[in-house]
């Protein structure tokens, strides 16, 4: 197509010319400079008709309403807890959102969540100044213990979960581990030590090779070799949005 100087799915760098002339329109992550459209960050260029946008390959996670994320408690207050979201902005978990139990005013909140606890929570609200409120009221939201936590590139989370959870389900089936993936790139893995190690190795492999086609098959073969067991490919389960339970 005339005007385009790159192909769909090319990796582009800031300042790189994506199109010349006025035929194309800049979208997320791109901008117009004179009669060119240029990349405004490192990422994958996607062309959709006449619109060019960039899918980021790296960068910090931006919390959005209704995202399910894994956070760590770092402060206990009178009215709730402050949690580390693994972004530049901490979040507030208020007393009423911290648990389904009834809490008396003035009660000692460390009874429920202590500094260092990891929790699975949902983003309720984000203000323009990046004040974030989270809640633990909702299906699947709870404290996470007896497991290991790793951080992955938050942009790779969709790949790690897979279409309708297919990738993460495969890893769970092969290793017998419970796995929860937060949208903020924090992953919880719980199972037998050797299997936790394999699950983490697999997740890191998916993260590293996320751009390669046929990844699902590659991972299937990898898991089968490591466990010595054949994996059945079940029909995809219709599961809850990202971060679903076992």
């Amino acid at each position: 197509m005339s005007g385009l100087t790159i192909n769909d799915k090319d990796v582009v760098v800031p300042g790189e010319v994506l199109a010349e002339g006025m035929d194309y329109l800049p979208s997320h992550g791109t901008y117009r400079l004179d009669d060119t459209i240029r990349a405004g960050k490192l990422g994958l260029a996607r062309i959709d008709g006449k619109v060019i946008k960039i899918i980021p390959l790296s960068g910090v996670y931006s919390p959005r309403r209704n995202d399910v994320i894994i956070c760590k408690v770092f402060d206990v207050l009178m009215s709730g807890w402050r949690v580390n979201t693994f972004t530049p902005y901490s979040a507030m978990l208020s007393m009423k959102d911290g648990t389904n139990e009834f809490i008396m005013k003035g009660a000692n909140l460390t009874k429920y969540h202590q500094i260092g606890d990891y929790i699975m929570c949902k983003v309720v609200n984000v203000t323009s100044q990046r004040l974030i409120d989270v809640t633990m009221k909702g299906p699947g939201l709870r404290k996470l213990d007896n497991g290991r936590f790793i951080r992955v590139n938050s942009h790779k989370v969709p790949r790690i979960i897979g279409k309708q959870g297919s990738m993460v389900s495969m890893v769970k089936n092969a290793t017998g581990c419970r796995i929860l993936v937060g949208q903020n790139g924090v992953v919880w893995v719980s199972g037998e030590p050797e299997m936790e190690i394999l699950a983490i190795e697999t997740i890191k492999k998916v993260e590293k090779e996320s751009h390669v086609s046929g990844l699902t098959d590659t991972i299937k073969v990898f898991l089968e070799e490591k466990t010595g067991k054949k994996l059945e490919t079940k029909a995809e389960e219709k599961s809850e949005p990202e971060g679903e339970q076992q």
């Binding site: 007896n146 290991r148 190795e201």
Partner: protein, 263 residues
């Protein structure tokens, strides 16, 4: 990237003879040594232990000796924990951690008599060589003690004296083929106690869960030449017995990575 693991979880792994990354308790990650990585330094080396990477450089200057040691040159070891290498390092004056790291490495090399200080004397009471070793971590994924110690020795092995002109000035642009007067090559290995288990070469998450550590520098014949205990908890004499055996064995492995004459 892993996050701070609970002590309980690490202990469960150790019961099965496993580390967080699947290694055995006494297993090191892959170690590599590269020489001559900085041309302006009189000697330099890069050491990698797993993902931990450290660069060390040697600078040689002529100075005046201490009055109580008029015929001996001096050796100084410094460590710079630049914030480049870890989100936990802060810019500013040296932290106690960087000071401890430098002192432990220094002890292992200087007190062990690695360099023949008398051979650094140019003119008794007047002129001696000052050997400055600076160690700079580039990426900290655990076990800086051993990486720094190995890099320092490698940089010292790499060093060559610059040319000294007839009028006594140093011509840094020309290097001689003369190496430093190295007598021994001590290798430090740090052994860490977690509960009743001993491990070597911890990653960041493991370092945070340890009780106590012992850095043991040893020579190729197994002679111990420096010790430093660290950490909040105690060590029993039995611990020390087992730790030194482990350290001496591992030092042999690391020494083989240095190449060159075995000394």
């Amino acid at each position: 990237m892993m996050m701070s693991e609970s002590r309980k979880h690490i202990t469960e792994y150790l019961k099965k003879g496993l580390r967080l990354d699947g290694r055995k308790l006494d297993e090191f990650r892959e170690v590599s040594v590269e020489y001559g990585v900085s041309k302006n330094a009189e000697g330099s080396a890069r050491v990698k232990i797993g993902g931990t990477e450290v660069i060390a450089g040697v600078k040689l200057n002529i100075g005046t000796p201490y009055s109580d040691r008029p015929d001996e040159g001096t050796l100084m070891v410094g460590v710079e924990l630049y914030p480049l290498a870890s989100p936990e390092f802060e810019a500013g004056p040296p932290s106690i951690d960087s000071i401890e790291l430098a002192r432990v490495v220094d002890r292992g090399i200087r007190e062990a008599g690695a360099i023949d200080n008398k051979a650094l004397c140019i003119e008794k009471g007047e002129k001696i060589w000052i050997v400055s070793v600076d160690i700079c971590p580039i990426n900290d994924e655990g076990n800086l003690f051993d990486a720094a110690g190995l890099a320092a020795i490698a940089a010292i092995m790499d060093a060559k004296f610059p040319k000294v002109e007839k009028d006594g000035t140093v011509n840094y642009k020309e290097r001689t083929k003369t190496p430093l007067p190295i007598k021994k090559r001590p290798i430090p290995i740090t052994v860490w106690r977690i509960g009743n288990d001993l491990i070597v070469d911890p990653i960041n998450e493991e370092e945070k869960s340890t009780d106590a550590r012992l850095t043991i520098a040893s020579l190729s014949d197994g002679v111990i030449c420096a010790l430093q205990k660290g950490g909040d908890a105690t060590l029993t004499v039995e611990d020390v017995d087992k730790m030194t055996d482990l350290a001496i064995a591992k030092a042999k492995d690391l020494r083989s990575k240095l190449g060159g004459k075995s000394k």
